[in-house]
């Protein structure tokens, strides 16, 4: 049962991370296409956005590891 719980946790976390990061990067690509000279700051902001969005899915992954390896 723990395997199932860990798999569900990672799966849902991956879903959230995938959707969130996809939205961030796609908007960044659009903005770079509109304004190629703003590429540097846009890339920087993109990485910061990815860092912020990835926190909770990564916390879900760590919880999944905890479920699998300790309980």
């Amino acid at each position: 049962m723990e395997m199932l719980a860990a798999a569900i946790a990672v799966g849902l976390g991956a879903l959230g991370a995938g959707l969130g990061n996809g939205m961030i990067v796609s908007r960044t690509v659009e903005s770079i296409a509109r304004q190629p000279e703003a590429r540097g700051p846009l890339q920087t902001t993109m990485f910061i956005g990815v860092g912020i969005v990835e926190v909770v899915p990564l916390a879900a992954t760590v919880i999944a590891f905890l479920i699998m390896f300790t309980s």
Binding site: G51, V55, L58, V62, T70
Partner: protein
């Protein structure tokens, strides 16, 4: 999974692998920095000097993008320390790990190691001695706590009126939300760094279980982990500077 060499000393649990790895990280960063500034030259810089100058300029750009440089100049050394320390710390767990099989009741400095405490006489426990220090929540929480103190002490010292005002902006009912926001920021910093590096190490452990077939995956994953380590160091430094800028700058409304 491997156990950590925790000893109980005076009521506190101390993780010896974290202590050892933090010391190793400090020594590596110190030696790197000192080697880079030997025989400084303007016309003919050595490769290490060139590299470190690039890092300093990179941190300068991070600070400049977060706040005005007249206020930001003192934080370049903080940013440089954070980015070098966290980057080296993230990389240390990648090349290898040192695990020892210890019998029951092994003593270090006269104190029994926690994982070996309740073992039957013939059993061994795997204890992990070499890992990334940032794969330990205590270490990342320590870094986040240090940044938390810097943000709020600087906010109080340099910008007291506007810093205290922003807790009740835009309305006084937002006070609990603003307090939670200020607590959530360092907590998120700690969890972000810990989760990224810890998940990387657990995946290395999982890939190794596949034996020889896992070697190409391991190579790819270690390469990706180098990128993740650099990215997390950059994000930690960048967010620190952004939070310091928010606390110390008076914005014209």
């Amino acid at each position: 999974m491997h156990a950590s060499p925790i000893i109980k000393l005076g009521g506190l649990s101390i993780d010896l692998s974290a202590v050892i790895m933090l010391t190793v990280t400090c020594v590596i960063v110190f030696v790197l920095a000192r080697l880079a500034v030997r025989n400084l030259s303007v016309e003919n810089p050595s490769k290490l000097q060139n590299f470190l100058e690039w890092v300093v300029e990179f941190v300068h750009n991070i600070v400049a993008s977060a706040m005005d440089m007249r206020k930001g100049k003192p934080y370049i050394s903080l940013g440089l320390t954070l980015i070098l320390f966290i980057f080296v710390a993230n990389l240390l767990g990648l090349p290898f790990a040192i695990v020892t099989d210890l019998p029951a009741d092994t003593k270090v400095f006269g104190v029994v190691l926690e994982p070996t405490k309740d073992l039957a006489p013939g059993e061994h426990s795997d204890v992990l001695w070499w890992k990334s220090p940032t794969a330990d929540l205590s270490v990342t929480a320590g870094l986040a706590l240090m940044v938390f103190f810097i943000i709020h002490i600087q906010g109080l010292r340099l910008n007291r009126k506007h810093y205290l005002r922003h807790y009740i902006e835009p309305y006084w009912v937002f006070l609990p939300i603003n307090i939670i926001e200020n607590i959530a920021k360092p907590v998120a910093l700690a969890i972000r760094l810990f989760a990224n590096i810890f998940a990387g190490e657990v995946l290395i452990y999982a890939i190794l279980k596949a034996g020889l077939f896992g070697v190409p995956f391991l190579a790819a994953w270690q390469g990706f982990s180098i990128f993740v380590g650099a990215l997390q160091a950059f994000i930690f430094t960048m967010l620190t500077m952004v939070y310091i800028g928010q606390a110390t700058t008076h914005e014209e409304h």
